[in-house]
Amino acid sequence: MVATTETINQVKSTTDKYKYGFSTKIEVDKAPKGLNEDIIRFISQKKDEPKWMLDWRLEAFKKWKSMEKPNWAKVSFPDIDFQDIYYYAAPKAKKKLNSLEEVDPELLKTYEKLGIPLNEQKMLAGVAVDAVFDSVSVATTFREKLSEVGVIFCPISEAIKNHPDLVKKYIGSVVPVTDNYYTALNSAVFTDGSFVYIPNGVKCPMELSTYFRINEKNTGQFERTLIVVEDEGYVSYLEGCTAPQRDENQLHAAVVELVAMNKSQIKYSTVQNWYPGDEQGKGGIYNFVTKRGKCLGENSKISWTQVETGSSITWKYPSCILMGDNSIGEFYSVAITNNAQQADTGTKMIHIGKNTKSTIISKGISAGKSQNTYRGQVQIQKGAYNARNFTQCDSLLIGDTCSAHTVPYINQHLSNAKVEHEATTSKISEDQLFYCMQRGLDAEQATSMIVNGFCKEVMKELPMEFAVEAQKLIGISLEGSVG
């Protein structure tokens, strides 16, 4: 259906304001703006880090200074002044917290508004939450229960102190410091994030989840997440984000590393709903994330599922390095852009081991004046005998001021492997809309339903609890896009 400009404008004016656009007033403890060795020392000191960590950071900083910002993605934004950003902000630790009652009530209220039930109900639901408020994890629940089975789930800052051997061994092993401009930056200044360790043969008894939240003005968020699963272990990790309304752009450059050993499995699910900026894109989050998993062991499996609806700019390619024979990589993605949002997202599947398999299902939906790009790479290296890849990327356009791009790269260095790629671009058919409306659904309900149907193959990969939330989010994200 070709929506007329008139309808689009009319509906746009009635669009709900960003649901989660509010800001919490909490005193913070922060370093001055800008980035230099002293700031890095400050961060490291604040975190009470051992010397090897500080050295690692300083080394990364040195490399970062010699690197250039990537410019190949199909996104445009004003140049970022990296000296105009706060690199450290933490809620003031009044004292050590033992229970939720001790947490700043303002903070708890914020979580409530966000719909994060950080309470007993969560335990009944079997979800442990490591809530990252700005840069410091202030409350981590259920750690005891997890530690009974030997699972370590804690802020990475704690892991650096308490499990230095594990961190030292794996940090930077999947995403090298100099992988790209933003990984080097992250390595120098990361403030916190999650650390998960699943020992041999342990199936993590609950889904682990972290809610990210950007709060302090001009605070760059530099999360660092590391998940290591030993032989025959299993973990499902949920990441959800939402940020308050801002006038200035906020940079987020996270790094996530996953390591899967023999016969282990990691399922990493993300629902990302950061503030996308206003109708012109002003004030939204810049989300420049590097996520990568390494199937190090044989028969291991890493599966990424993402529902990306927020941020003014998304630059993100969760990838799998399939080293172990018979290992499996999966990428399921829904990316929705509306108004002035720009998303350049996709995946890389690097096949190294024999009989490795990968599946890529990407669904891009663009509305408003937005720009949505799928960029993916499938690489079959010599030695990846009998490797298989199947890629499907479908785009849906709503209105005639948005755009959709598909940029797949297929590099094959071996005959005994099979790579298949399919892509389509289409619109919501007028027939489908009319059919739903004849049954009494209004245009937005109908669109939301059809779009959810379009995304079905991805949505069904999400854990149940997340799926319901994500389904609603798709509807909310498209509000105002149809007439």
Partner: protein, 420 residues
């Protein structure tokens, strides 16, 4: 140690142009390109010119002394022969009155070039070198309403290892003309840089078949820019089998409604050959159709690239664009790269692409073997089927056998080498 890359060619070119055409200022702007595209240039990421850059090449400006004989593929065709990039009237057939060959100036077609406002065209080494040093710019014009049943065969011959040759041709079809053209590239040139412009007026039809079969040390960087008007139809088919490095790059602009472009091709790569089919179709107006379909067979240590792009502008509603690439790899040392790209700004379009890379289907081979057919023979049958499908889809029936035979010799060689 590898010899370092050098961009000597471009200073040679500049000296050559300033000496030979000192007063032709129109050539000057095309001398601004000073180096070969690097692998950091997205358009050349998979087709690296390092080896070409290390060649010591000079533009050729010799009068032809040799005798050439041409092998027409089609008995009653009309031949046009270019030797060393220069039109040889005495080797060519006599023209009919409906066809006009005339010399033109850059100014006469500059407007067409400027329609392709992107860097991969503007900075293309062929566009720049050929416009600066080609001896004459020829336009071949087919008059209104011609239905031409004798195909035109254009032969590109000549060259030597250390020279570059720069044929230029501007094919212009007036309204309602209907023409078939064969382009043969069979040179010995170190670098062949053929630059071709195709201009299809309203309701005209052009079927163009390009056969790239240069000698084994040649680099062929062919570039074709096509502009298509209302209800006109371009049917282009490239068969790449020769050269050390052959890239067939086509940019096709659909600027009249209800026009159509099929930019298809086959590459057959052996030894250490590098073959590249790069195509970009720009849908600027509504109700047009395009297809970019490429199939290839790779043997030994060859590498092949398919880069296809469809760009659908905001105005170009009701576009139907199709992209498909399929490669069969016969050897583990071969490398296949493909990048089928869609860039879409209109919402009421049907665009799809597909790509597969793999080896011949083991089940099919087994099935044939179980019927008493040798494995090698089975492969021949399956590859034949794979290519035949493509040939019948892409070109007029009357040329099937001719093109099929052109593939056959190469396929036999490819499979024979695999079994050595």
């Amino acid at each position: 140690m590898k010899k370092a890359r050098n961009d000597q060619f471009f200073s040679n070119l500049e000296k050559f142009v300033n000496k030979v055409y000192p007063n032709q200022l129109q050539r000057q702007p095309y001398l601004s390109l000073k180096s070969w595209p690097s692998p950091r240039d997205e358009a050349w990421k998979f087709s690296r010119l390092g080896k070409l850059a290390r060649k010591n090449i000079l533009p050729l400006n010799l009068e032809n002394q040799q005798d050439f004989s041409i092998n027409k593929l089609i008995k009653d065709s009309i031949s046009l022969v270019f030797v060393n990039g220069k039109f040889e009237k005495k080797l060519s057939d006599k023209l009919l009155s409906e066809i006009v060959i005339e010399e033109v100036q850059i100014e006469d077609f500059k407007e067409i070039i400027n329609k392709f406002d992107n860097l991969s065209v503007k900075n293309h080494p062929t566009l720049n070198s050929t416009l600066s040093c080609s001896q004459k710019f020829f336009k071949i014009k087919f008059k209104n309403d011609i239905k031409f049943y004798k195909p035109i065969e254009i032969f590109n011959l000549g060259g030597s290892e250390n020279t570059s040759i720069h044929p230029f041709i501007f094919i212009h079809l007036e309204k309602n003309a209907d023409v078939q053209v064969f382009q043969h590239y069979s040179t010995y040139a170190g670098l062949l840089a053929p630059f071709e412009i195709i201009n299809l007026s309203e309701n005209s039809n052009l079927e163009i078949i390009k056969i790239y079969d240069d000698k084994i040390n040649s680099h062929n960087l062919s570039l074709t820019l096509s502009v298509i008007k209302e209800e006109a139809n371009l049917r282009s088919f490239a068969l790449i089998k020769g050269g050390e490095f052959t890239r067939s790059e086509m940019h096709t602009l659909l600027e009249g409604e209800y026009s159509n472009a099929d930019i298809n091709g086959i590459y057959l790569s052996s030894g250490s050959q590098h073959h590249d089919l790069t195509s970009c179709v720009y849908h600027n107006v509504p109700n047009c159709k395009s297809s970019q379909i490429v199939k290839g067979v790779l043997g030994e240590e060859s590498t092949a690239v398919f880069q296809g792009k469809v760009r659908v502008e905001k105005l170009a509603q009701k576009t139907e664009a199709k992209q498909m690439s399929r490669a069969i790899m016969l050897s583990d040392k071969a490398v296949s790269n493909s990048k089928p790209e869609l860039e879409i700004y209109a919402d009421d379009v049907i665009c799809g692409h597909g790509a597969t890379v793999g080896e011949l289907d083991e089940d099919q081979i087994f099935y044939l073997s179980s019927r008493g057919i040798s494995k090698q023979k089975a492969k021949v049958i399956l590859i034949d089927a794979f290519l035949n499908e493509m040939i019948s889809l892409s070109i007029s029936d009357k040329f099937h056998d001719i093109i099929y035979n052109e593939t056959k010799t190469k396929i036999n060689k490819l499979l024979a080498n695999e079994y050595e």
